[in-house]
Point group: C2
Chain length 149, copies 2
DNA sequence: TATTGTTATACTCTATAACTATA
DNA sequence: TATAGTTATAGAGTATAACAATA
């Protein structure tokens, strides 16, 4: 169309712009892929953080996810309402809630992860498989150890 | 520390998680780098979209940036209040506002871009320069042509 | 006193709907 | 009628402060 399309040569090279819009696109693809399972990327993240590890308290789960414990409350309210997670008081410390996946939760994780893998494939489609792997690796390198020695 | 740190082996490989947290980190670094110039990454994006091209209407600028025209209003209110952009009615179509960088705006773009470049260098520090270039290229490939043929 | 979960509240970013002035 | 800018409003997503129960 016209010359007013796109971010232009300056902005289109800023990492801030690229990361934001890449994230928006991935989130939209996940949203679409996970809708049939009644969930979304944010909830899947919570389920994944609880999956395959020793049961966690709400605060531990929030910390793993990098969100505040007050934010976790509403997230778990929703997931518990859907029957995907269970909360019950810790035996030794009754201030804590032990949070676990239910069987339905484990099933949802399995199927939603598959759907999300497909969304990731769509996202990465414009890249060679080598470039896609490099992108994954580089993001992991940057995100997993954020400068804290 | 304890085994409750980090996203865990499942979540830590999801592109959604990696992109979101990479974006958060880049945004935080930009925030820090641009604060001395009284601006931030969001405002710099607007300035960059107006810089070095023919003057645009608010709607054109919003479109280039991928945001709604109603969102652009408050953004430009702030930038105009800081004296970085000017608005004046288009000669031929008085419904439109022609938006341009002021001299102060151009100066801010120059200096803020330098500071943001430094923030990008910090962000990319854990990568080899080759890997950093690949990351840039791949993100650009994915973001710039989002599947619309 | 300190910590866990919770609630109330607020702030940021964004969009949709409706208004106005122009076309 | 249609479009550009504006305003009012609402909905995510997030955090901070304060409270109850428990340690």
């Amino acid at each position: 169309m016209s010359s007013t399309d796109g971010p232009g040569p300056e902005l289109g090279k800023r990492l801030g712009y690229l990361l934001k819009h890449a994230q928006l696109r991935m989130a939209a693809l996940n949203e679409e892929a996970l809708a049939p399972y009644g969930t979304n990327g944010r909830e899947l993240a919570v389920l994944l953080v609880l999956d395959g590890r020793e049961p966690a308290s709400q605060q531990q789960a929030a910390h793993r996810l990098g969100i505040d414990r007050t934010t976790m409350v509403a997230l778990l309210d929703t997931l518990e309402g859907k029957g995907l997670v269970s909360r019950h008081p810790h035996a030794d410390d009754r201030r804590r809630n032990v949070v676990e996946l239910t069987e339905a939760g484990q099933d949802t994780v399995r199927r939603a992860t598959k759907a999300s893998n497909e969304a990731e494939r769509t996202f990465l489609a414009p890249l060679s498989s080598q470039a896609a792997q490099h992108l994954r690796d580089s993001l992991q390198t940057i995100v997993i150890q954020p400068g804290k020695p």
